[in-house]
């Protein structure tokens, strides 16, 4: 379970990215964060994966305050969180397979398991023919899918996805969402930050809208 209690994030000199965010996300839930550019979606995801620390407030994952975790414990937590970044963070001089494998290598998975998992994911995302392609040579849409594949490769318990369909056509968007739903059905908590209403318009899951760093609405769950 993810708990955010009165979480704020400010950047110097006086930019307030998030303000008093309080929300609980259950284990195994699929949760949408929506809002315009600059609303604070990406900042919220960065706080959830402990890439950044909150200026105020408390963030707990599974009952553990993540801003107090350090060293080995923090690394172990991060291994359980898969993140698909908006800027991809791909190693553009490595192959698609190597990029996806990296998240499994850090948890010392066996090479044959890594190879099989990489092939499965590439097939599910329609990238089988890009296995040995250097990621710097892929299109934006393909890079985005590789990022997603890397995020879910290690079978994390929590998957954070930032604008997963920004560079994708309708068919590929469908494919990506299908994969995320599959992970969700397998028990993973999924948090998706997006402004693409086609992926959350008819959803039965909770949708939280951010505006200027604050929660504007939260539908399908707790009232504000």
């Amino acid at each position: 379970m993810i708990e955010l209690i009165k979480v704020s994030k400010a950047y110097s000199p006086d930019v307030i990215a998030l303000q008093n965010i309080s929300v609980s996300i259950d284990s195994g839930e699929m949760f949408f964060i929506i809002g315009m550019s600059g609303a604070g979606k990406t900042t919220l995801l960065k706080l959830l994966c402990s890439m950044e620390l909150p200026s105020n407030g408390l963030i707990e994952i599974g009952g553990h305050p993540i801003n107090q975790l350090k060293g080995h414990k923090l690394a172990k937590l991060r291994q359980k969180i898969g993140v698909a970044y908006q800027d991809f963070k791909l190693l553009t001089d490595r192959t698609t397979a190597e990029n996806i494998a990296i998240s499994m290598e850090v948890s010392y998975k066996k090479p044959q398991i890594i190879r099989k998992r990489v092939r499965d994911l590439l097939e599910q995302l329609g990238l089988s023919d890009k296995h040995d392609t250097i990621t710097g040579e892929l299109s934006r849409g393909e890079q985005q899918r590789v990022t997603l594949a890397r995020a879910i490769a290690n079978s994390p318990t929590m998957i954070l996805v930032d604008e997963p369909t920004g560079n994708l056509d309708a068919v590929t968007t469908e494919r990506v969402m299908k994969l995320l739903k599959k992970c969700n059905k397998a028990g993973a908590t999924i948090v998706i930050a997006t402004h693409d209403d086609s992926i959350y318009r008819h959803t039965t899951h909770r949708v939280m809208e951010l505006r200027k760093g604050s929660i504007h609405s939260l539908s399908g769950g707790l009232s504000l």
């Binding site: 994966c49 890439m51 060293g71 080995h72 690394a75 172990k76 937590l77 991060r78 291994q79 359980k80 969180i81 993140v83 963070k89 190693l91 990296i102 998240s103 290598e105 850090v106 948890s107 010392y108 998975k109 066996k110 090479p111 890594i114 890397r150 290690n154």
Partner: protein, 295 residues
């Protein structure tokens, strides 16, 4: 995948990506070890030579007149008052003449016209083995020179002093080259690791984000330092050995090098130099990581 297999793969990848700077560092470490070991080899051999010559060290006290038995006993007592000595031997004029004739060998006939007592009598004093430092020998020599009836004392002063100052100079060179070795190994390795870290910032950031532990990220860099030390110093020692063998081969036959046994390092000393180089390179790698690899 096991931890060490992953680490070795990372090291291999690092070496491939930064082979240019890695090679430069390897050569610098090798050269530093070679320079240091070269001077240390000469120094240790000079010390051995000094020990060997010290074994043969004797002070010759030339006397005005041949001492009688009583005076001999008195002089012996006076000499032993300064320090214990290994042996004291009185040489008469006649014995000195005979020795000189033997030393001249085939040319001994030049002495035919000389009187048999033209050489002064002397005392040969062989000091104890612990009397090694130049100052102690000098003190003993001046003590002997003050004995009554002494003309002069000889022990090859010039030669001994030159040898002593030469070994002093060598010890300074060894210290300087040792400092050079320390500085180059630590700083060059640190610099190379720093370049690697800066060149892989994106990857290191990603590794942190996907949950790589400190050991996972740091161990390959440490191992790189260990490898640089191991390969660099081994290469330096092997190069020196080859150079040593070449010099031995080229300069074999009568000459300066054959005056004494010129020996290469024992395996133990070679291993110590390699171990210290590894340690220094690891320190260089570690300090850089502490500074530039904040996890």
């Amino acid at each position: 995948m096991s931890f060490w297999l992953t680490v070795i793969r990372q090291v291999g990848r690092n070496l491939r990506q930064t082979w240019g700077s890695q090679l430069m560092t390897l050569l610098t470490v090798s050269l530093s070890v070679l320079i240091f070991a070269f001077f240390y080899l000469i120094y240790s051999n000079m010390l051995n030579l000094g020990d060997k010559l010290g074994d043969d060290l004797s002070l010759i006290v030339y006397l005005e007149d041949e001492p009688g038995p009583e005076l001999q006993q008195q002089l012996t007592n006076k000499i032993r008052t300064f320090d214990e000595v290994e042996s004291i031997r009185f040489v008469t004029r006649a014995e000195a003449y005979d020795r000189f004739a033997v030393q001249l060998g085939e040319n001994s006939d030049v002495l035919n016209d000389m009187p048999k007592d033209f050489l002064p009598p002397s005392i040969e004093v062989i000091p104890m083995k612990n009397l090694r430092s130049l100052n102690q020998v000098k003190l003993f020599s001046s003590y002997l020179a003050r004995l009554p009836g002494t003309l002069k004392v000889q022990y090859g002063q010039d030669w001994v002093e030159r040898f002593y100052y030469f070994t002093r100079l060598l010890s300074i060179i060894v210290l300087l080259s040792g400092t050079l070795l320390i500085l180059t190994t630590i700083f060059m390795v640190a610099y190379t690791i720093r370049l690697t870290i800066l060149g892989r910032q994106a990857e290191l950031e990603l590794l942190r984000l996907v949950g790589a532990t400190n050991n996972y990220i740091r161990t390959p860099f440490l191992l790189e330092g260990v490898l640089q030390g191991l390969l660099g110093s081994s290469f330096g020692i092997v190069s020196l050995y080859l150079l040593f063998q070449w010099i031995k081969l080229r300069f074999s036959g009568p000459g300066f090098l054959n005056l004494f046994e010129f020996a290469f390092f024992s395996p133990w000393v070679s291993l110590t130099i390699i171990s210290i180089s590894i340690l220094l390179c690891t320190v260089g790698s570690f300090t850089t990581m502490q500074k530039f690899l904040r996890i």
